[in-house]
């Protein structure tokens, strides 16, 4: 069993800076877990703590049922793929992959079997005698993965391995990594700042911010039901529109939905793709008037940037969020109506939240009528 458990894990640096503030989650055997978040949120630090490259100030890290806090990296039965690959520059590809096995006193014959097998899977057979400086970025990345595979460890750890590759290669390698992991069934923890990578690779997605976990769950579930404004604006591109609404607006528009309590202001979140153009409010929906500022046509879709007529001052945007008042609408097709002022009507509502700028995750509202709107009203 190669599951990984983190129980109330903390890290405070010598100067007093608390980088990790109490993290709890569990990765099951064979699952692919992705840690995602903005720069400085602590995801790499957390990964390095699992690897043993950073010490743990509090809590327990458990690999396969064994608490590993005090165990050296070499003894944890893990393998890691670094962002800059960290290949041994003076050794051939073959020796790079064989190094870890030689350290464990494995026989040369068995080493050769394992290395050849990994080279076959990763299509490195022709390059075994070359040195890293003679390889391209993508090839080096595969050697780094090969080095991890031959060890047949309990856990794979990936520290932003695709960041140094160009966009096209990144997409191809993403698929390769996923296929590889499915094939080898090794528990994996993967760190990235790219929410697209996170969405496509993860079985379990952990969204982090400021040393804490904002939300854990299935990627699509997180997409559809973000727990906090941070998660709502971080996951999904273009970001979700977060619109502060006054209580009367809420009451009037959401009347009948049950979850909005009268007299409270709140933040309304609507994803750009959930808008459609309409001249009148659809049943069960929200209507907004927008002044269009810019239109971007990218072929398969059109992005429309507009501002609401009523703005609430004094609210600053967090990283990843839209500036106050700005709304993005995303409609399929390459054309948009040309008239200067026109209205967009929304058809889906996310659950309202207590107040703008709250940092703690709001509890999920009871299942009520806010869920389950259909999106099928396009073209009406």
């Amino acid at each position: 069993m190669a599951n990984v458990s983190l129980r109330d894990v903390r890290k405070t640096y010598a100067g007093g800076f608390e980088a990790i503030k109490g993290i709890n989650f569990e990765v099951g055997d064979g699952q692919f877990c992705v840690l995602v978040g903005p720069s400085g949120c602590g995801k790499s630090t957390l990964l390095r703590m699992v690897a043993g490259l950073e010490t743990v100030t509090g809590g327990e890290i458990d690999i396969g049922g064994r608490v590993v806090n005090q165990i050296e990296p070499a003894q944890r039965d893990i393998a890691m793929v670094f962002q800059n690959y960290a290949l041994y520059p003076h050794m051939s590809v073959y020796n790079n992959m064989a190094y870890g096995l030689r350290n464990r006193r494995m026989g040369e014959a068995e080493i050769k079997t394992r290395v050849d097998e990994a080279a076959r899977i990763l299509e490195l057979g022709a390059m075994l005698e070359r040195k890293p400086r003679q390889l391209s970025g993508g090839q080096r990345q595969r050697v780094a993965m090969g080095r991890a595979i031959v060890r047949q460890p309990k856990v794979f750890l990936f520290d932003e391995p695709l960041s140094n590759l160009d966009a096209k290669l990144r997409i191809a390698m993403r698929i390769e990594i996923r296929k590889l992991q499915r094939r080898l069934k090794t528990t994996s923890i993967y760190v990235t700042h790219d929410q697209l990578e996170a969405m496509t690779l993860a079985d379990i997605l952990v969204v982090m911010n400021g040393g804490q976990v904002e939300q854990i769950g299935n990627p699509l579930a997180i997409y559809q039901k973000p727990a906090t404004t941070f998660v709502a604006s971080f996951i999904g591109a273009p970001p979700m529109n977060l619109m502060p609404l006054q209580s009367d607006e809420l009451t009037s528009q959401l009347a009948g939905h049950g979850s909005a309590t009268g007299g409270e202001a709140g933040i309304l979140g609507i994803r750009p793709e959930d808008f459609m153009i309409s001249n009148e409010a659809l049943e069960g929906g929200i209507a907004l008037d927008l002044t269009v500022e810019a239109i971007e046509r990218v072929g398969a879709e059109t992005f429309i940037y507009g501002t609401r007529q009523r703005e609430i001052q004094g609210i600053a945007a967090n990283p990843g969020e839209l500036p106050p008042g700005e709304v993005i609408v995303r409609i399929p097709g390459a054309t948009a109506p040309a008239s200067a002022n026109w209205a967009c009507r929304g058809t889906r509502v996310n659950h309202p939240e207590p107040s703008p700028g709250s940092a703690s995750p709001a509890p999920m509202p009871p299942e009520s009528a806010v869920d389950g709107f259909c999106r099928g009203c396009r073209g009406a």
């Binding site: 043993g52 490259l53 950073e54 010490t55 806090n69 005090q70 165990i71 050296e72 990296p73």
Partner: protein
């Protein structure tokens, strides 16, 4: 990293402390010796703690001079060292920055040849050509002069190479912008290049000052008068190794004085010094 080798740090501290001890001990002894009187030092059982003759010894060393083998007060020698070291540093900086400027920023026939002519000097330190150089200096009537001490030692290419490397890293756009603004070679050099080069100049100054101050063989050869001795050559003259009655305490005081300026330069300008060292050797 999680590592369970608690003795690793302890060993590191132990080794480093031992290293500092090795490095400091000879100097410490010299300091101690310079604070005792002659009898204590020579008696064979000098204590390891300072004595009370600091002022007396240093005063005698600087202003009066040893009574036996060297009649010259150290003060004069310190002055000579200072003049010569500064002269070497400044001289070298001056001629190298001009040459590097010419070689990098101009196109002219024999440019490459000129560069190689200068570059070859790196290969042969002065010790290899001492006697012929001595003859040249003698023929020019520069024995026992500051010029004789300084000029032959600025003939090597370290400075030119350093400045050339530095100039290559200066973006072309700066020169182009200057030319558009109507600047000729002088203006460009004075207004733009020189201010940019200040750190490099300082680093080279530090290295060359120490190099010049610590010269031994060359000053030894070309200075015969006591009044022209540098402090480094003067120290040796204060001792004769067979004679136990040489005034060791004064010699040690002189040694301390000889070490002070370069060490002060290294300690206070450490970053510049390290940078200069690494850059000139590459």
């Amino acid at each position: 990293m999680v590592e369970h080798r608690p003795w690793s740090d302890i060993i590191a501290y132990a080794i480093l402390t031992f290293g500092v001890f090795i490095v400091a001990f000879p100097v410490y002894l010299a300091l101690i010796a310079s604070t005792h009187d002659a009898a204590t030092v020579v008696g064979g059982n000098m204590p390891l703690l300072p004595g009370g003759h600091v002022l007396e010894n240093y005063y005698r060393a600087i202003f009066v001079g040893g009574s036996r083998t060297s009649r010259e007060p150290v003060g004069q020698m310190l002055l000579n060292s200072f003049i010569s070291a500064t002269g070497i540093a400044v001289g070298k900086i001056f001629i190298s920055i001009l040459s590097a400027y010419a070689v990098v920023y101009f196109r002219f026939p024999f440019r490459k040849t000129a560069f190689w002519i200068i570059f070859v000097t790196l290969m042969l330190p002065v010790e290899v050509r001492i006697y012929p150089t001595y003859k040249v200096v003698a023929d020019l009537h520069m024995l026992d002069t500051y010029a004789g001490l300084i000029l032959p030692l600025i003939a090597s290419a370290t400075g030119t190479l350093l400045f050339r490397q530095f100039f290559m890293t200066v973006p072309d756009e700066l020169l182009e912008a200057s030319r558009i603004d109507g600047a000729g070679p002088f203006r460009f050099f004075w207004d733009t290049l020189l201010p940019l080069s200040v750190t490099t100049i300082a680093a080279l100054f530090v290295i060359q000052f120490i190099y010049g101050w610590n010269q031994y063989l060359w000053p030894l050869l070309i200075t015969t008068q006591d009044s022209m001795q540098t402090i480094v050559t003067g120290i040796k003259k204060m001792l004769t190794t067979t004679d136990e009655l040489a005034e060791w305490q004064l010699a040690m005081a002189t040694a301390v004085l000889a070490m002070l300026p370069p060490v002060a330069v290294v300690v206070f300008m450490q970053r510049l010094f390290v940078r200069g060292l690494v850059e000139t050797e590459k």
